[in-house]
Structure formats: C-alpha cells, structure tokens
C-alpha cells in the first residue's frame, strides 16, 4: 500500500477540517469526492506533506513523513498539483517544469529529458519556451500537471486537475491518469463525477471531515438507484450517500 491512513485528523483553529479518516490506497487511480468544505484539500495537503496532521497516523510509500529523512524520500517520489496553482509569470513552461524537476532532486543529467517528456505528455511541447504569463487558464493547469509528473512519482496527488480544461483535453487527461495509475497511486480530488467514473478504480466520498463512502464507482452508482436527485447515475449515488450521511 502506498497510502496508509489511520484516524487522521487536522484542525485549523476551531475548525476540524479532517475529523478522523481511515484510508488505504495502492497503485491505481483513487477518486476523492465531496462538497465544498468537506476536507478534501486538507487531506490532500497532509498526504502531500505540506501540512502536518493534528492526530492520527499517516504512512506514505511505506514511510512515516513525520521525520525529516523519510519525508525527504517521500518528496522525491511525490507529485502534487494544488487547487490554486501558483507560478512565476516570467518563467517559460520548460523553465517552470525544470525548476521543479531540480527541486525534486531528479538527477541533473536527466533533467532536460524528463522535462521534455513531461511537457509532451500534457501536449505543451510546442509551448515549451512560452512565458507562463501568456498562457490561458487551462494551459496553466496543464503546466501544473507537468510539474507534478516530471519526476514520475509513485504517489501523485491532484486537486481539481481538470479545472479549465476543455472536454477534449479532459478526455485525454483521464487517459493519462489511467496510464499513470498503472504504476503509481494517483489520488484525484474533484467535483466532476464523470472524471471519477472515467478514470478511477476506487472512490471515496468525504463530508464534514469524514469519509462517508469508500468503494468502486459502480458501488457508488448502485447506492443511487432509486434516488431522485442527480442527472447521472454517479451523481445520484453521490447525492444519496450524502443525504444518508447527513440524516
């Protein structure tokens, strides 16, 4: 298992953003659904080692990120795309991805090659020298994906990765996710249930800091049978689970 979480919690002041989560994930694409404020981003940030848990245990890639040495090893094998991607407007696409390749301690001799591959995989090869400030929102998102995958991570965490992508690019991105999931654990936090249905082998639904559903997309669809709210089977399953959790 690449991700082993037991009783994980995170508090921000008085707010319990994550209120005890148990989760295990191995290679594959793992979808994380939930309404706004459910705690998805906080959970993802803990898995990305950006913030520490308030309580509970967290093991990533067989290591405890609480100590510096193992955390550094995890970060070498980690890719992360946050919901709000910051960037340096003066950098070009290639420079931005190269910067993160170097920070992730990709061997220097391999950096040019891995940068090229990462940029090609998100279909920005023709924009490699383009300044980030001139790119559209969707293209910036793809640059964010490129920096997340440049080190061929074993654990890839993506928060709203398809935001701003057009339908064609979303289809291509799902194919990329499935390919990445063959070797790595990919955790995708999204509001788009069709992304989950198309790419994920496992899905968890969070609400108010807890996981209220964990299973396959088909299991989630089954939960929605006979439920009226939602335009698609997965949406009905999503609504049904939430309604049950809140009742």
């Amino acid at each position: 298992m690449n991700v082993e979480i037991t009783g994980l919690a995170r508090r921000f002041g008085r707010t319990m953003a994550v209120a005890g989560v148990d989760l295990q994930a191995g290679p594959g694409v793992f979808g994380l659904l939930g309404p706004n404020g459910a705690g998805k981003t906080s959970l993802l940030r803990m898995m990305a080692t950006a913030i520490r848990p308030t309580s509970g245990t967290l093991r990533l890639l067989g290591r405890d990120p609480g100590s510096y040495g193992p955390r550094r090893e995890i970060r070498r094998r980690l890719g992360y795309l946050p919901q709000n991607l910051g960037y340096y407007p003066g950098f070009s696409v290639a420079e931005f991805v190269e910067y993160f390749a170097l920070l992730k301690e990709v061997p220097a001799a391999q950096v040019p090659a891995v940068v090229t591959v990462a940029i090609d995989r998100v279909e920005l090869g023709g924009e490699a020298k383009t300044k980030l400030r001139t790119l559209s929102g969707g293209m910036l998102r793809r640059v964010g994906v490129a920096q997340a995958i440049v080190n061929e991570p074993e654990l890839l965490l993506l928060d709203e990765p398809t935001a701003g992508l057009d339908p064609e690019q979303r289809v291509a991105f799902r194919a990329l996710l499935r390919d990445l999931g063959l070797r790595a654990t990919v955790v995708v936090s999204t509001h788009l249930v069709e992304d989950v249905g198309a790419a994920c082998t496992q899905v968890a639904l969070m609400d108010r800091g807890k996981i209220v559903f964990h299973g396959t997309p088909n299991d989630l669809t089954a939960r929605g049978e006979g439920y009226g709210t939602g335009d698609a089977p997965l949406e009905r399953g999503y609504s049904a689970v939430l309604a049950e959790a809140r009742s």
């Binding site: 960037y87 407007p89 980030l132 400030r133 001139t134 709210t229």
Partner: protein
C-alpha cells in the same frame, strides 16, 4: 444548491434614483472595505513608524547636510508606504465595476499623504527639524508623486522603486550643497531651500500628475497577479 432551496433573488433596481440613493453608511463601508483591500491600515502603521523613527533620530546631533538628509529618509519611507497601497489584489473584476473606483483611489492617496505630512511634521515639533514643515510637505508630495508614477508604470507593488531611488538622488543633491559643485536644478527639490518656488512647483507638478494618472487608470496591473 438545489432548485427547492434557492431563494428568490429580488429584481435589480433599474431606476437612476435608486442607484444614486446611497446612504452615507454604505459609502463609509465601501471606503473601509477599499482601504482594507489596499492594506491601508498597514500603510498607516508604516507611516507612524517613520514618524516615530524621525522623532527618535532627531534627539541626536545632526549637522550640515546630515540634518537635512535625515528627514528625507523618513519622507521616502512614508512616500513608499503610500504608493504601495495603489496595488490592487483584485485585478479585472474590480476594474470593470462602477464609477466609484477613481474617487476611492484619489481619496485614499490624498488622505494617506495628508496623514504622513501631519505625522512627520508632528514628529519635528520641539526638535530641530532642518528645513521645517515646508520642506517636509514639498519632499513628501514630490516623492509620493514619483512613487505614483512608478505605480502607473510598473505596478503598485513595485512603486517603492521611485521614492527609494530618488532618496539617493536627493541625499546626494544635499551633499553637493556642502561639497560643490552644487546641484541647483529644481527637479532635485530636496536640495533646494525650503521656500524655493521652482522646487515647490516641480514637486507639486509631479504629485499632481501622479495622482491624476493613478486615480483615473489605477496602478499597472501585471497579468497573472
């Protein structure tokens, strides 16, 4: 959101009277929110720190051009703090709103400049403030104008380049009054005597141009910020 729970949104009030009928409280609230978005409270704190620093520094003995360079340093700091407030964190959504934005920019800049002038002048009360109040007003207004022009060209967050660069120029100009040849151009107004009309006009002109440009157009908004 569900269709069942959505509240009815009242229809927009189209008539002109309704739009113009702004209660004063709303105006003050708008001003307060605008000031918060521009970090005006922090700027006021920075200006107060400049005034306190000047007051403390005036307890020491400063002679010849050092006595004139000292207040110039704090005037530059205050001018930089004023002009940095022109930076907008909100970008395009704010710029495409109604007509109040230029007035808000103008009012904020004028109020901060007046506050800075008052604070720095008060810091000199009871101490030997070389150049006097006129010097403070002239230098502060001029350097604020330079900062506003920088904000218009480079963006509010980089507006400090103007006042701090001019600080070096002004300090050097003062130095040349004692170690010639003296720089006498009115465009280096800190080096001119306090009641030099040419210097006052230059400083006022720069301030006026800067405040007009930044009030009407706002600070330059770099793409991506």
């Amino acid at each position: 959101m569900t269709a069942g729970t959505a509240r009815k949104v009242p229809a927009a009030a189209p008539d002109r009277e309704a739009r113009l009928a702004w209660p004063p409280r709303a105006g003050m609230r708008l001003l307060r929110l605008y000031a918060a978005s521009r970090r005006v409270p922090v700027a006021i704190g920075a200006i107060a720190a400049c005034a306190v620093g000047l007051r403390i520094a005036l307890t020491g003995h400063w002679d010849s051009y050092g006595a004139l360079q000292l207040p110039l340093v704090f005037e530059a700091g205050a001018a930089a703090a004023i002009t940095i407030t022109t930076a907008s964190p909100l970008g395009e959504p704010e710029r495409v709103t109604g007509r109040w934005l230029p007035f808000l920019r103008l009012a904020t800049t004028l109020a901060l400049t007046a506050a800075a002038a008052g604070a720095l002048t008060a810091a000199g009360i009871g101490a030997h403030l070389a150049g006097g109040t006129v010097d403070v007003l002239r230098n502060l207004a001029g350097m604020t104008g330079i900062g506003l022009l920088c904000a218009a060209a480079l963006g509010g967050r980089l507006a400090w380049i103007g006042p701090t660069g001019y600080l070096v120029v002004g300090a050097y100009g003062l130095y040349t009054q004692w170690h010639g040849p003296a720089l006498t151009t009115p465009w280096i107004w800190p080096a001119r005597p306090p009641h030099d009309v040419g210097a006052e006009m230059c400083a006022a002109l720069v301030f006026t141009i800067g405040i007009v440009i930044t009030s009407v157009r706002g600070a330059h908004d770099p793409a991506g910020e």
